[in-house]
């Protein structure tokens, strides 16, 4: 492996990489070694046009752009020599010659690379007395993105993104010289499954999402690492949180999962967290069949009473469980133990499926179907068939995926059951039949791990705290198990402890306990899963 020296520090690099790629591989780019850049992006082709990443390479007379200069063994690179600094200042000054400098009204302010680099590497005063380019403002590029041509610095990341990632190529540079502008073709809007990524990779305030713009200044947001739960890909995200509210999802780089991208549908799924149709209070169906809101303890008591009655009269074998593929590994582990201790007759998992695209979007529209399968929850189709034909008297159901066409085909299939205990996060027809309903938390409100479609265990942590009494499935089941007197259930649920127990008892999860999983997750080990 070639070794290069950057600002006096030796770096081992892979053959065939460029200087900037090598710095990125080593994890030091803008993280110890500052080589500011606009057009270069780790997941797009090299453009070499912004010229900001120029560095000095010993033995080469001209400054070289770090993004496109292949490393050679023994290369000595200087990223902050006086020549480099002067060139950088020159580029920054020229980039600002035509920039409107409207930061106070620009939604990108605070996370703008032009702003950041101007502070960091630019000169403080403008020498330009000339009028700036007057171009189109507030251009509607498509259903998701608004474009400000004046702010654009023509790094062309967005153009390359559309060509290279979704392959749709809606964007193009028209014109020449300082008449160059990014445009769409007539009648062909920027509209693809990944369109909003262009706002993330736009280093300036030229491309912004219609959804997020003007909602909140970004410096009020905390970026909480998390996982998108829209499908089984498990795209790594940052949840932008302020005032106990999620304002946006942005992709978080994980080269083993989603690179730096996320699909628009997944990005917009942040709205599910604080959605108006979230279930807020436990419900217990009263004597007249009318659901009545109650507190958690009373709901647990009511549910335990119904389950105990069935167990005592007909045996636990008439009780079935349907797991939710949205729950965490920890929740599902507790559910599996609960069902085993209860002696439930059957269990499975219902997973809603849909379109996959071979890029990020997976057919399983849930974050943890893999985890459910790993804990022995097989597909619930056969079980649902049995339920439809009256083979089950009691059902403990997590989530409402089982109502789908592939499973129960509607809530009517549950109408004749003696007991339906439901744990769910959002409103659905389940409410109409559940005898006891527990509101549950979503991944953005939980400690725990999720296992993606490829068997990678990834961590979530609470980004927001629900304003109402929603609890994780594990916590509800822990309380229910204790109320039923099941062995090993003391009513407490601690995700870390459960995760530890899980990793000790399920060999495949040996290295995947909550405390052991880093920010980019770990692949499941081999060996038995349950």
């Amino acid at each position: 492996m070639p070794r290069i020296t950057v600002d006096g520090n030796p770096i081992e690099v892979a053959q065939g990489r460029t200087i900037l790629q090598a710095l990125d591989d080593a994890g030091v780019l803008m993280n110890g070694v500052d080589v500011p850049h606009y057009c270069w992006h780790p997941k797009l082709s090299i453009d070499g046009s912004c010229r900001l990443c120029q560095v000095e390479v010993e033995g080469v007379p001209k400054l070289q752009i770090a993004c496109n200069t292949p490393v050679q063994d023994g290369m000595v690179v200087h990223t902050a020599s006086p020549r480099v600094v002067a060139a950088r200042e020159g580029v920054m000054e020229l980039l600002l010659v035509n920039h409107p400098l409207d930061c106070p009204i620009c939604d990108q302010a605070g996370e703008c690379k032009l702003q950041d680099y101007a502070f960091e590497y630019g000169v403080s005063a403008s020498r330009s007395r000339e009028p700036r380019r007057a171009l189109k403002k507030n251009v509607d590029l498509g259903p998701t993105i608004v474009f400000d041509q004046e702010r654009c610095i023509l790094c062309r990341r967005c153009v390359r993104f559309c060509r290279e990632v979704p392959g749709t190529g809606e964007l193009v540079v028209l014109g020449r010289g300082d008449d160059s502008v990014i445009e769409t073709f007539p009648g062909v809007p920027l509209d693809n499954d990944y369109s909003m990524n262009v706002a993330d990779i736009c280093p300036v305030g030229a491309l912004t999402t219609k959804d997020f713009r003007f909602k909140i200044r970004v410096w009020f947001l905390d970026d909480v690492p998390g996982i998108c739960t829209g499908c089984s890909k498990g795209c790594n995200i940052h949840l932008g949180v302020a005032n106990n509210r999620v304002y946006r999802y942005q992709p978080r780089r994980n080269d083993a999962v989603n690179d730096t991208w996320i699909c628009d549908e997944g990005r917009m799924s942040y709205r599910r967290v604080g959605a108006p149709d979230r279930l807020r209070r436990a419900l217990v169906r009263g004597e007249l069949g009318v659901p009545e809101a109650t507190d958690f303890g009373a709901a647990v008591a009511a549910a335990a009473e119904r389950i105990a009655h069935l167990r005592d009269t007909k045996g636990a074998g008439v009780i079935a469980g349907i797991a939710s593929p949205h729950a965490t590994n920890e929740d599902l582990f507790v559910f599996r133990r609960f069902l085993d201790e209860l002696g439930a007759g059957a269990f499975g998992v219902a997973v809603t499926t849909g379109r996959a695209d071979g890029l990020l979007i997976q057919a399983e529209k849930a974050a943890n179907a893999f985890g459910a399968h790993a804990f022995g929850f097989s597909d619930a189709a056969a079980l649902c068939d049995r339920i439809r034909h009256g083979g089950v008297d009691g059902l403990i159901v997590l989530g409402h995926d089982a109502l789908g066409a592939d499973y129960l085909g509607g809530v009517e299939a549950l109408a004749g059951l003696d007991t339906v205990i439901a744990l769910d996060s959002h409103d659905s027809d389940l409410q109409r039949v559940a005898h006891v309903l527990f509101p549950t938390r979503v991944a953005a409100e939980k400690h725990g791990t999720l296992t993606n479609h490829a068997g990678r265990v990834q961590k979530v942590e609470p980004a927001v705290e629900p304003a109402y009494d929603a609890r994780s499935e594990g916590e509800v089941l822990a309380a229910l198990g204790a109320a039923l007197g099941l062995a090993g259930f003391d009513g407490r649920f601690d995700a870390s402890e459960v995760s530890k127990a899980l990793s000790q008892s399920v060999p495949a999860f040996a290295d995947a306990s909550l405390d052991a999983v880093g920010p980019s997750g770990v692949p499941l080990a081999g060996g038995p899963r349950w």
Binding site: S49, C50, L94, V97, P131, V173, R176, G177, S180
Partner: protein
């Protein structure tokens, strides 16, 4: 037949003969004999060595060793290799390739054929500027004649060597004369130079190994093969052998095309060949090699026209387009024209070029209007310095150098505009 004043050497010797543009006429003057010698008696390596020994430098502006460039092409391999003939002559002040296309297309094609043999190229794309409508017609006729006579095609001169020549007309952009901008345009894309690496010899037209040479460069090749490297070195200077065609324009009595040995003194070209400035006026400045080369003032015209000498005066031979300006010329207006051109023609990829060319143009326009300041002169030089040598292609250099040259030698003109708050040249040309 030639309607402009001219002097001739081996390149243009027969250009007055209208018959020379036909294959029969060209053959009567010994045409295609050099190609036959190369293909039947010389190995490709021999040809490359000969051209290296001749010291032929590219005539497109950069002056790189032609033999060296050919040697960069990978030998062998199954993938096709291409030559590209750059006939997108678009440097303001340069019009030599036009005559070589109109009057000597077969000479150029013979040079292409020899180069193809040397580099193992399967096909040559001649990229000709869109405005060269008549040369395109002539060239296509000559290509057709060469095919019909077996000089091109599947079995060149019955040697078994295959070579095809395809003409592609451009659509009018200066940057499509830059070799990789040309390749992009040739492929049907927007004409924007490519970042290097990879270089065209590895990844050129349609991703294949490619060598790009100028029309005139190819045109010298048959003469080198026919007469030898020593003969070629008999022209010009030791470091810059051969002749070139100087296209002289501007305030001279006889603007025209003068084929002269490299190293001919600039004042000889301006005063003896082109007849000096008419009307008894004095020369003010001369751009020696097309608009992108820095200007020389009247006192510095005693320079041999070869890069090793011109570099000492901080300018270069470029394309040999000599532009003469007399004492009535406002050099700020010249700056306005030059910066307007480069602003308009910048492809817009690189920051320094995209923003710098526009800024230079705005400042020079403001100075010409009388609204400039002393500080503007410093900014002009500073912006030019920031553009120079920092971009994907040499366009930004080409835009920066003339401004540096004008301020180096004619700073007084700029300062006078600032002081008088107007243009002091009442009779200067219209913008």
């Amino acid at each position: 037949m030639l309607t402009v004043p001219y002097t001739t050497q081996y390149l243009t010797e027969h250009f007055a003969d209208g018959d020379y543009t036909t294959l029969a006429g060209y053959e009567r003057k010994g045409g295609y004999r050099a190609a036959r010698v190369a293909l039947t008696q010389m190995s490709p390596a021999d040809v490359i060595q000969l051209v290296k020994d001749s010291g032929l430098q590219g005539r497109g502006g950069a002056g790189f060793s032609t033999g060296m460039k050919w040697s960069f092409m990978p030998a062998g391999g199954d993938a096709p290799k291409y030559l590209v003939c750059n006939a997108d002559e678009s440097e303001p002040g340069s019009f030599k390739d036009r005559i070589l296309l109109e009057r000597g297309a077969h000479q150029m094609l013979e040079g292409i054929l020899i180069a193809a043999w040397a580099t193992g190229a399967d096909k040559t794309f001649v990229y000709i500027r869109g405005e060269y409508a008549q040369p395109a017609v002539t060239l296509q006729r000559c290509i057709d004649e060469a095919y019909a006579a077996g000089y091109l095609g599947a079995n060149v001169m019955r040697t078994g060597f295959r070579h095809d020549v395809v003409m592609q007309r451009g659509a009018g952009a200066y940057i499509c004369g830059e070799e990789t901008g040309l390749l992009e345009s040739l492929e049907g894309k927007k004409g924007q130079p490519r970042k290097k690496p990879p270089f065209p010899a590895q990844y050129g037209a349609f991703g294949m190994p490619t060598t790009v040479n100028n029309v005139e460069t190819f045109s010298h090749v048959p003469h080198i093969v026919a007469n030898g490297a020593e003969w070629f070195r008999g022209f010009g200077t030791e470091k810059s052998p051969g002749t070139t065609i100087f296209g002289v324009s501007g305030h001279v009595a006889r603007p025209g095309l003068y084929e002269l040995p490299l190293g001919t003194r600039l004042d000889e070209i301006v005063f003896e060949h082109a007849g000096g400035v008419p009307g008894g006026r004095k020369v003010k400045g001369v751009i020696p090699g097309g608009m992108s080369m820095p200007i020389l003032p009247a006192g510095q015209l005693d320079v041999p026209m070869a890069n090793e000498h011109l570099r000492e005066r901080k300018t270069m031979l470029g394309t040999g387009g000599v532009m003469v300006m007399d004492e009535t010329t406002c050099m700020v207006r010249v700056a306005c024209v030059i910066t307007y051109f480069f602003r308009d023609e910048s492809c817009g990829q690189c920051t320094q070029c995209r923003e710098g060319t526009g800024w230079l143009n705005k400042i020079t326009n403001r100075i010409e209007r009388g609204a400039g300041s002393e500080e503007d002169l410093a900014i002009l030089l500073d912006v030019a310095a920031k553009m120079e040598g920092q971009t994907i292609c040499a366009f930004a250099d080409a835009a920066a150098w003339p401004i540096q040259g004008l301020l180096r030698h004619f700073r007084g003109d700029f300062e006078e505009h600032v002081r008088q708050r107007k243009c002091p040249f009442s009779s200067s040309f219209e913008l």
